[in-house]
Symmetry: C2
Subunit: 702 residues, 2 copies
C-alpha cells in the first residue's frame, strides 16, 4: 500500500480529551487538550549530522524567529542559527503506522509514539492499578539514535513549542520531583524523562537549546521552545524514554460540574510523568500488544490503516469525567466537540461494546436521567397536535458545556434542514443502543430497571408512525412539535434531502424495522407477549412498506411516497442491529423477512455502480444525489454488504478502500487526522473525528 | 483635549489578571484572563433603530459568518441578516473616559463600564466583606436606553463571542442559580444580570440572537456569539445592570503552587455574578468614587487621561494569588507577562504605597525568600573574580510559571545587551524599594527583621564599586560573574548603550547615590553609625564622580569615563528616592549635595531641547541617541523635573503631554491599551503594560 506518510494522527490517552497529534508537516501537531483541532504547535524531533554542529529533523515545525524580534525590538538581533537545522528529505523518512505504535525512521534515528489501545474497565469496579494504567493521561515516546558506525558522539533532540494561551513554557526539572527532567507548558502539558543523561532547555528557538554556550541559559524562562537534548557516545546506540503528559485540574465542565477522572489518582502533571516513567515498560508493552488487535490475515493493508487511524482518533475525543457521584463518559464530536452526540454513539457502539461496554450503559443512563424530552407530533402541513412521546436529545452539550436538561446543543426549532430536530432518529438510536447493549452484555437487569423507558420509547415510535394503529406502515409519518412547523432531519444533516429528511426516509425506516425486530425479541424475553406481537407487527409493516417501493429499475427511492428518486447506500445501514440483538434469523434471505432482505440486496447491487453510488475513483458515494460521503458509514455498510448480505469482496471493492485511504491522506487536508465527511474525495467537515471506529466490525469477518 | 476615542483600555478587577478590554475597533477587545494581549473577541453593544427591526452598534466586532459555513458545509445557508446591524458612525459616538468609569454614548443609548480603583487591603488582615468587595473578579456595566421620545418599544443588546480555546459559549440561566440571566464561555468568563426583563441567547452570529423566531432557539448551544437582549417600552427610559465576570479555579501557577485568592470566597463564576449583582450599587458607587482620585484642578486633561489609562492597565496586570501559607502579589509585565519584574516594581512602588502598601512588602519578602543569589564580580576584560555579594533576580518568572529559586525568566549568561543580567540595578532596586517602604510606612520592625539582608546588600554594592575601598567612586565598576564574560545591563534593555550598559551609567549612578543617601539615614535611625558614615561616604563619592563629568557644553554623558557622548533624561530619575526616604535635604540646591543637584539641573536643562531629548512633536526623548522612549519613565522624570527640581511647566511642556497622548491614541497601535515603549511616536513594545502608574506622582503636585 502506498500513501503519503505526512498525515496527522491522534496519539492519545484514553478519556483525557488529549492528543499528541503528529504527522502532518509544519506546526500542525503538538500537545492538545480539550480542542476540536490539532494544537498547531512546533514539534522538534531530530539528530545531529555526522559532520557535527548541524542537525536534521522531521518536518514538524515551522519558524518562530518573529518571537525574538518581539522581545528585542530596537536591537538588531537576528536568528541566523535557525538554518543549522534542516528537514530530512521526504524520501529519507519512513513511517510505520499502527494503532498502538507509530514510528518514524530517518537517518540514524528512530522515533516511536506509543498510545494505549486496551480494554477500559469500569472505574467504579476496577482495581486501582488497572484504572491508573488505563486512564493515565500520557502517551509514551522512545527515541533511538544509532551511532554505532560513527566515531564521535552525537546529539538527538525532542521538544515542542506550546500554544496554550495562558501559561509559559517551563523546565520540569525545576519542580518538586527531582528525578524528572522535562519541559512543559504551565501545568497542562509536558514531555518528561527520568534519564539523567538528558538535558532540558528553553530557548526562543530550538537551535538556541541545542547550542547553549552556557548551561545556565538552558533555563531561559522566556524561551518559547522547549527541547530535551540527548547525547550518544561514539560507536553507541541508545534509546531514550519519554512520557508525553497532559493534566487539567479543577472543574472542567459547566452544566454538570465535573473534573477529569484521572485527578482522583494523579495530583499534578509531575505525578503523571512519574507514574508513566516508573511503569514505562509495562505500559508500552501494552501499547505494542494493542497492535495485535489489527494483526489479522483477513484484513487488507488499507483496512488496517483505516482501523488504526480511526481508533486513534476516537480516543483523542474521549473524556472520562468525575461527576458528583459517578463517572461520566463523553465522546466529543471532533471539530464540533458536541458531547455524546447520539447519532455517533450508536455508531461507536460496536467499538465500545468490545473495549468498554460499561461506557454504553453510562451514556444510556445519562440520556435517561437528563437528556430526554416529551413532545407531541404533527402531520406535514398541519398544526394539529397528536400524541407524541419520549425522545432523546441529539447530544449532551458542546465543548465542555453540558446543555440544560432535555436540550441538546444542536437542535433548533422552525427549520427543516441542518440543525433541525432529530427526534425520531435519536429515539431509534436510544432503542438500538439499549437493545444491543442488553443483548450483547446479557444485562437483563438493565432491561428490567428501565422497562418503563423502553416501553415509553416503543409507544413513542408507534405514535410517530400514525395516530391510528390501522393506518401505520412502520415508518415515521409525523414530525415533532418541537420543530415548530419545520421538519425532522436525520444524522445525515449535511447531505441533500435523500438522507437529510427523516420522514419516510428508507435509511431511518430500515433502522426502525431493526428496532421493532429487537423489541419483539426483548419483550418476548421479558415475557410481555402483547408488546412483542405489536413490535413484530410493526416490523412486518415496515418491511412490506419498504419492499413495496421497489422501482422497476431495481432500487428503492431514498424518500418514499414523496416523489424522490435518490439512491442511497445507507438503505442497508439498519441491518446491523438485528445482527447484534440476537435477530440473525430476521436477516436470512429465506426467512420471514426474506422478501425484504432480498429487496435490499437488489437495491444495494443496483446502487453500487459507477455513476450512481460510486465515485470515479471507485470510492463509495452514500447518495447518488450528493457528493458528500461519510467514511464511518461507508465502513459500517461495507461490513453489512460483505458479512450480513454475503457479497464477495473482490478487486472492484478493494479499489474502493484504496480510494478511501487516498481521501484520508490528502496532502493538505490530512492535517485533520481521521475525518468523516468527504466531498468528492476531499476532507471537508466532521474532521478530527471519533466516528470511524465502525471499522471495528471488520474484525468479525475473520 | 482632542483625541481619537477608539483606543483600547483595560477595565479590570484588582488582582484577577483579567480585563474587559474595550475601545479599539473590530474584534480587538473582550474578556481576557491570564493574557499578554486583548482577548480579540467580538463585543456586541447596540440598540434597535427607531424604524425597528434593524440595529446600530458600537464598532467593536467583526464578522463571524464563516462559522456558520463551517457547520453547514454542503448546504447553502448564508448569513444575510448580518447586515441588519450597522455601526454607529464615528462622529455619533462620544466617549467619556475616566479611571473608574468609561462611558460611550451613541444614538439613544449609553454604555458605562465601572471598574474598581480603591485601596486594596492586606487580605490576611481585612474584614471578609472588604476583601470580597476589593478582589471580586468582576467589573460592572450599565446600559441605558432612552426611549422617552419614541412611541414603540425598542431593544438594546450587550454580548460577546468568547475566544477561549477550551470551552463553548453557554447560557448562565441554565446554571444552578435561577436568579441569574447571562451568557458566558465555559466556567471562565460571563456577562450576567439579575434583571428578569433581560433575555439571554446564543447564535452563530449576534443577529440570530436578536431575531430568534422561537424563544427555544436562544438556547442554541453551538452559537458562538452570546447576547443579552433588553426591551424598553414606549416612552420609557431604562437602565440595565450587568456584571462582567471572570473565574479560574484550580492551581494556576507552577514553580510555586497557587490559586487565585478570590477562590477562597467565590466557588464559581455564578457566585461571583451573584455577589456583584447583589451589591451592584455599593460596588459601582465605589468605582465612581474612584474617579475623584484624578479630579484635581492642578491636573491637565492630558495628565488625567494618561493617569486613568495607566492605572487601568496596571490593574489588568495584577494577580493576587493564594500561596500555601500566604497571599502572593504579582504584577505581570504586560505583553511579556514576566512576574514582578523588579525594575517595574520599583516604578510601581509609588502607586502601591498609596493603594496597597502591603503588596510592596509582599514583593520584597518573596525576593528575599526565593529570588536572590550570590555572585562574584569582575572588572571588564578580566577573568579575575572579586568578592561580589547578594543581588536579586530580574523577575520571578513568566506567564504563570514561577521560575526556580534564585533565577529570573529573563537573565541570560554570556551577553552584554538585551537579556543580560541586571545584577547591580536589581540590587539597587531592592534597596530602593526597601528603604522607601520602611520610611513611608514607618515600618522599622521590617527593617530590624531584615537588617541582615539590608547590610549584605549594602556590602554587595560596595564590592561592585571597587574591591579596594580607597579606589571607590560611588559607581558600579565591576560586572557580575553570572554574565560569564558579558556585561550587565540596565532596565533600559532595548535602548542603545546610552541607557543599556550598567557599568558607569549615570542613570544607575544617580540611583546608587539615592540608595546611599537612604542607607545613611536608615542606618543612623537603627543606631549603626559606622554603616551610616560609610553610606554617606559613598553618596558623596558618587555625587562628586557624576558632577565631575560635566562637559563644557553643560551635560553629563550617559556613560562616563568610556567616551560615550549620549545625553539622557533619566540622569535625574534617581532623585525620586530621597524624596521618599526622608532625604529631602539631600535634594536641596543649597545643601550638602547642592553642587550635584545643580549639575543635574544644568544637565536636564541642556538635554530638554529640540534635537537632543525632545522629539519633533515635542514629546520627551529619553536618550539623544535612541528613538525608543518610555512613557512610564517620562512620567516619573516629569514629576522630578517639576516637583523636585522646581522647573516651571509651561506651554512648551504642555505640548509634550499632548504628544504623549497622541502616541497612546494612535489609530492602529492603541489596540494595545496603555503601552510603554514608543519608537519615534509609535507604540512598538512593552505594550498592554502596567508601569505607567508612575503618573500617580503627579497627584503630589497639588
Amino acid at each position: 500500500m502506498k500513501y503519503d506518510p505526512f498525515f496527522n494522527a491522534h496519539h492519545s490517552p484514553m478519556g483525557a480529551f488529549a492528543s499528541f497529534t503528529l504527522g502532518h508537516k509544519c506546526a500542525s501537531g503538538g500537545l492538545g487538550m480539550d480542542l476540536g483541532k490539532p494544537a498547531d504547535e512546533n514539534v522538534y524531533i531530530g539528530m545531529e549530522t555526522k559532520e557535527g554542529g548541524s542537525y536534521q529533523a522531521l518536518p514538524f515545525f515551522g519558524d518562530s524567529s518573529e518571537d525574538l524580534a518581539r522581545f528585542a525590538v530596537g536591537n538588531d538581533q537576528t536568528d541566523a542559527d535557525q538554518e543549522l537545522i534542516t528537514y530530512f528529505r521526504d524520501e529519507e523518512i519512513e513511517r510505520d503506522f499502527n494503532v498502538g505504535t507509530d514510528t518514524w525512521k530517518a537517518g540514524d534515528m528512530e522515533f516511536t509514539i506509543y498510545s494505549p489501545v486496551r480494554e477500559l474497565p469500569d472505574p467504579v469496579k476496577a482495581e486501582e492499578e488497572t484504572i491508573k494504567d488505563s486512564i493515565l493521561p500520557a502517551v509514551f515516546v522512545e527515541v533511538t539514535l544509532d551511532n554505532l558506525r560513527h566515531k564521535k558522539s552525537r546529539k538527538a533532540f525532542f521538544g515542542y513549542q506550546g500554544e496554550d494561551p495562558y501559561a509559559a513554557m517551563r523546565r520540569v526539572d525545576d519542580s518538586a520531583h527531582p528525578s524528572l527532567v522535562g519541559i512543559g507548558q504551565g501545568r497542562r502539558t509536558a514531555i518528561v524523562t527520568k534519564d539523567g543523561n538528558v538535558k532540558s532547555g528553553l530557548g526562543f528557538t530550538i537551535d538556541k537549546v541545542l547550542h547553549a554556550e552556557h548551561e545556565f541559559n538552558l533555563g531561559f524562562g522566556l524561551g518559547l521552545s522547549g527541547g530535551l537534548v540527548m547525547e550518544v557516545g561514539p560507536e553507541e546506540k541508545r534509546t531514550f524514554q519519554f512520557a508525553v503528559c497532559f493534566y487539567r485540574d479543577g472543574l472542567v465542565t459547566s452544566g454538570i460540574d465535573t473534573k477529569y477522572y484521572y485527578t482522583r489518582y494523579f495530583q499534578s502533571i509531575e505525578e503523571v510523568a512519574d507514574y508513566a516513567l516508573s511503569h514505562f515498560s509495562r505500559l508500552t508493552s501494552a501499547c505494542r500488544k494493542g497492535n495485535e488487535l489489527l494483526e489479522k490475515d483477513h484484513l487488507s493493508d488499507e483496512q488496517r490503516f483505516m482501523m488504526a487511524h480511526s481508533i486513534k482518533s476516537y480516543y483523542g475525543n474521549t473524556q472520562l469525567l468525575d461527576g458528583e457521584d459517578k463517572p461520566i463518559w463523553v465522546v466529543n464530536e471532533g471539530e464540533y466537540r458536541m458531547m455524546n452526540t447520539f447519532d455517533l454513539t450508536v455508531d461507536q457502539l460496536f467499538y465500545e461494546l468490545k473495549m468498554s461496554p460499561w461506557t454504553v450503559k453510562n451514556e444510556l443512563e445519562l440520556f435517561m436521567e437528563r437528556y430526554f424530552y416529551h413532545d407531541s407530533v404533527q402531520f406535514p402541513n398541519s398544526e394539529e397536535n397528536h400524541s407524541g412521546g419520549i425522545s432523546f436529545t441529539h447530544d449532551m452539550g458542546v465543548a465542555n458545556v453540558f446543555s440544560a436538561p432535555g436540550r441538546s446543543a444542536y437542535e433548533f426549532a422552525g427549520i427543516d434542514d441542518c440543525f433541525s430536530f432529530m427526534t425520531h432518529e435519536e429515539l431509534v438510536n436510544w432503542l438500538s443502543c439499549t437493545t444491543v447493549y442488553i443483548s450483547h452484555q446479557e444485562d437483563y437487569s438493565f432491561a428490567e430497571t428501565h422497562l418503563g423507558v423502553i416501553q415509553a420509547s416503543f409507544a413513542s415510535m408507534l405514535n410517530r408512525d400514525h395516530p391510528q394503529p390501522d393506518k401505520r406502515n412502520g415508518l415515521m409519518g409525523l414530525d415533532s412539535s418541537f420543530t415548530k412547523g419545520g421538519a425532522e432531519i436525520t444524522t445525515y444533516d449535511s447531505l441533500d434531502v435523500s438522507l437529510g429528511q427523516a420522514r419516510n426516509n428508507i435509511y431511518l425506516a430500515v433502522k426502525s424495522w431493526s428496532v421493532y425486530i429487537a423489541l419483539e425479541k426483548l419483550f418476548s424475553n421479558l415475557e410481555l407477549p402483547n408488546l412483542s406481537n405489536q413490535a413484530k407487527e410493526q416490523a412486518m409493516r415496515c418491511a412490506k412498506t419498504i419492499a413495496g417501493e421497489m422501482t422497476p429499475e431495481g432500487y428503492i427511492p431514498a424518500v418514499i411516497t414523496e416523489g424522490n428518486q435518490s439512491k442511497i447506500i445507507p438503505a442497508i445501514e439498519g441491518l446491523i442491529f438485528p445482527y447484534f440483538t440476537d435477530g440473525k434469523e430476521a436477516l436470512a434471505e429465506d426467512g420471514e423477512y426474506g422478501f425484504f432482505i432480498q429487496s435490499l440486496k437488489k437495491h444495494i447491487t443496483y446502487v453500487l455502480q459507477p455513476g450512481i453510488c460510486l465515485f470515479e475513483d471507485g470510492g463509495w458515494k452514500l447518495s447518488s444525489t450528493s457528493d458528500n460521503s461519510w467514511l464511518s458509514k461507508i465502513y459500517l455498510c461495507q461490513f453489512i454488504y460483505r458479512h450480513i448480505l454475503g457479497f464477495p469482496w473482490e478487486e472492484k471493492e478493494r479499489i474502493a478502500d484504496q480510494a478511501h485511504v487516498k481521501w484520508l491522506t490528502h496532502k493538505e487536508h490530512s492535517y485533520w487526522s481521521w475525518s468523516d465527511q468527504i466531498i468528492a474525495g476531499e476532507i471537508k467537515a466532521s474532521r478530527f473525528y471519533p466516528r470511524g471506529v465502525t471499522s471495528i466490525l471488520w474484525l468479525m469477518e475473520e
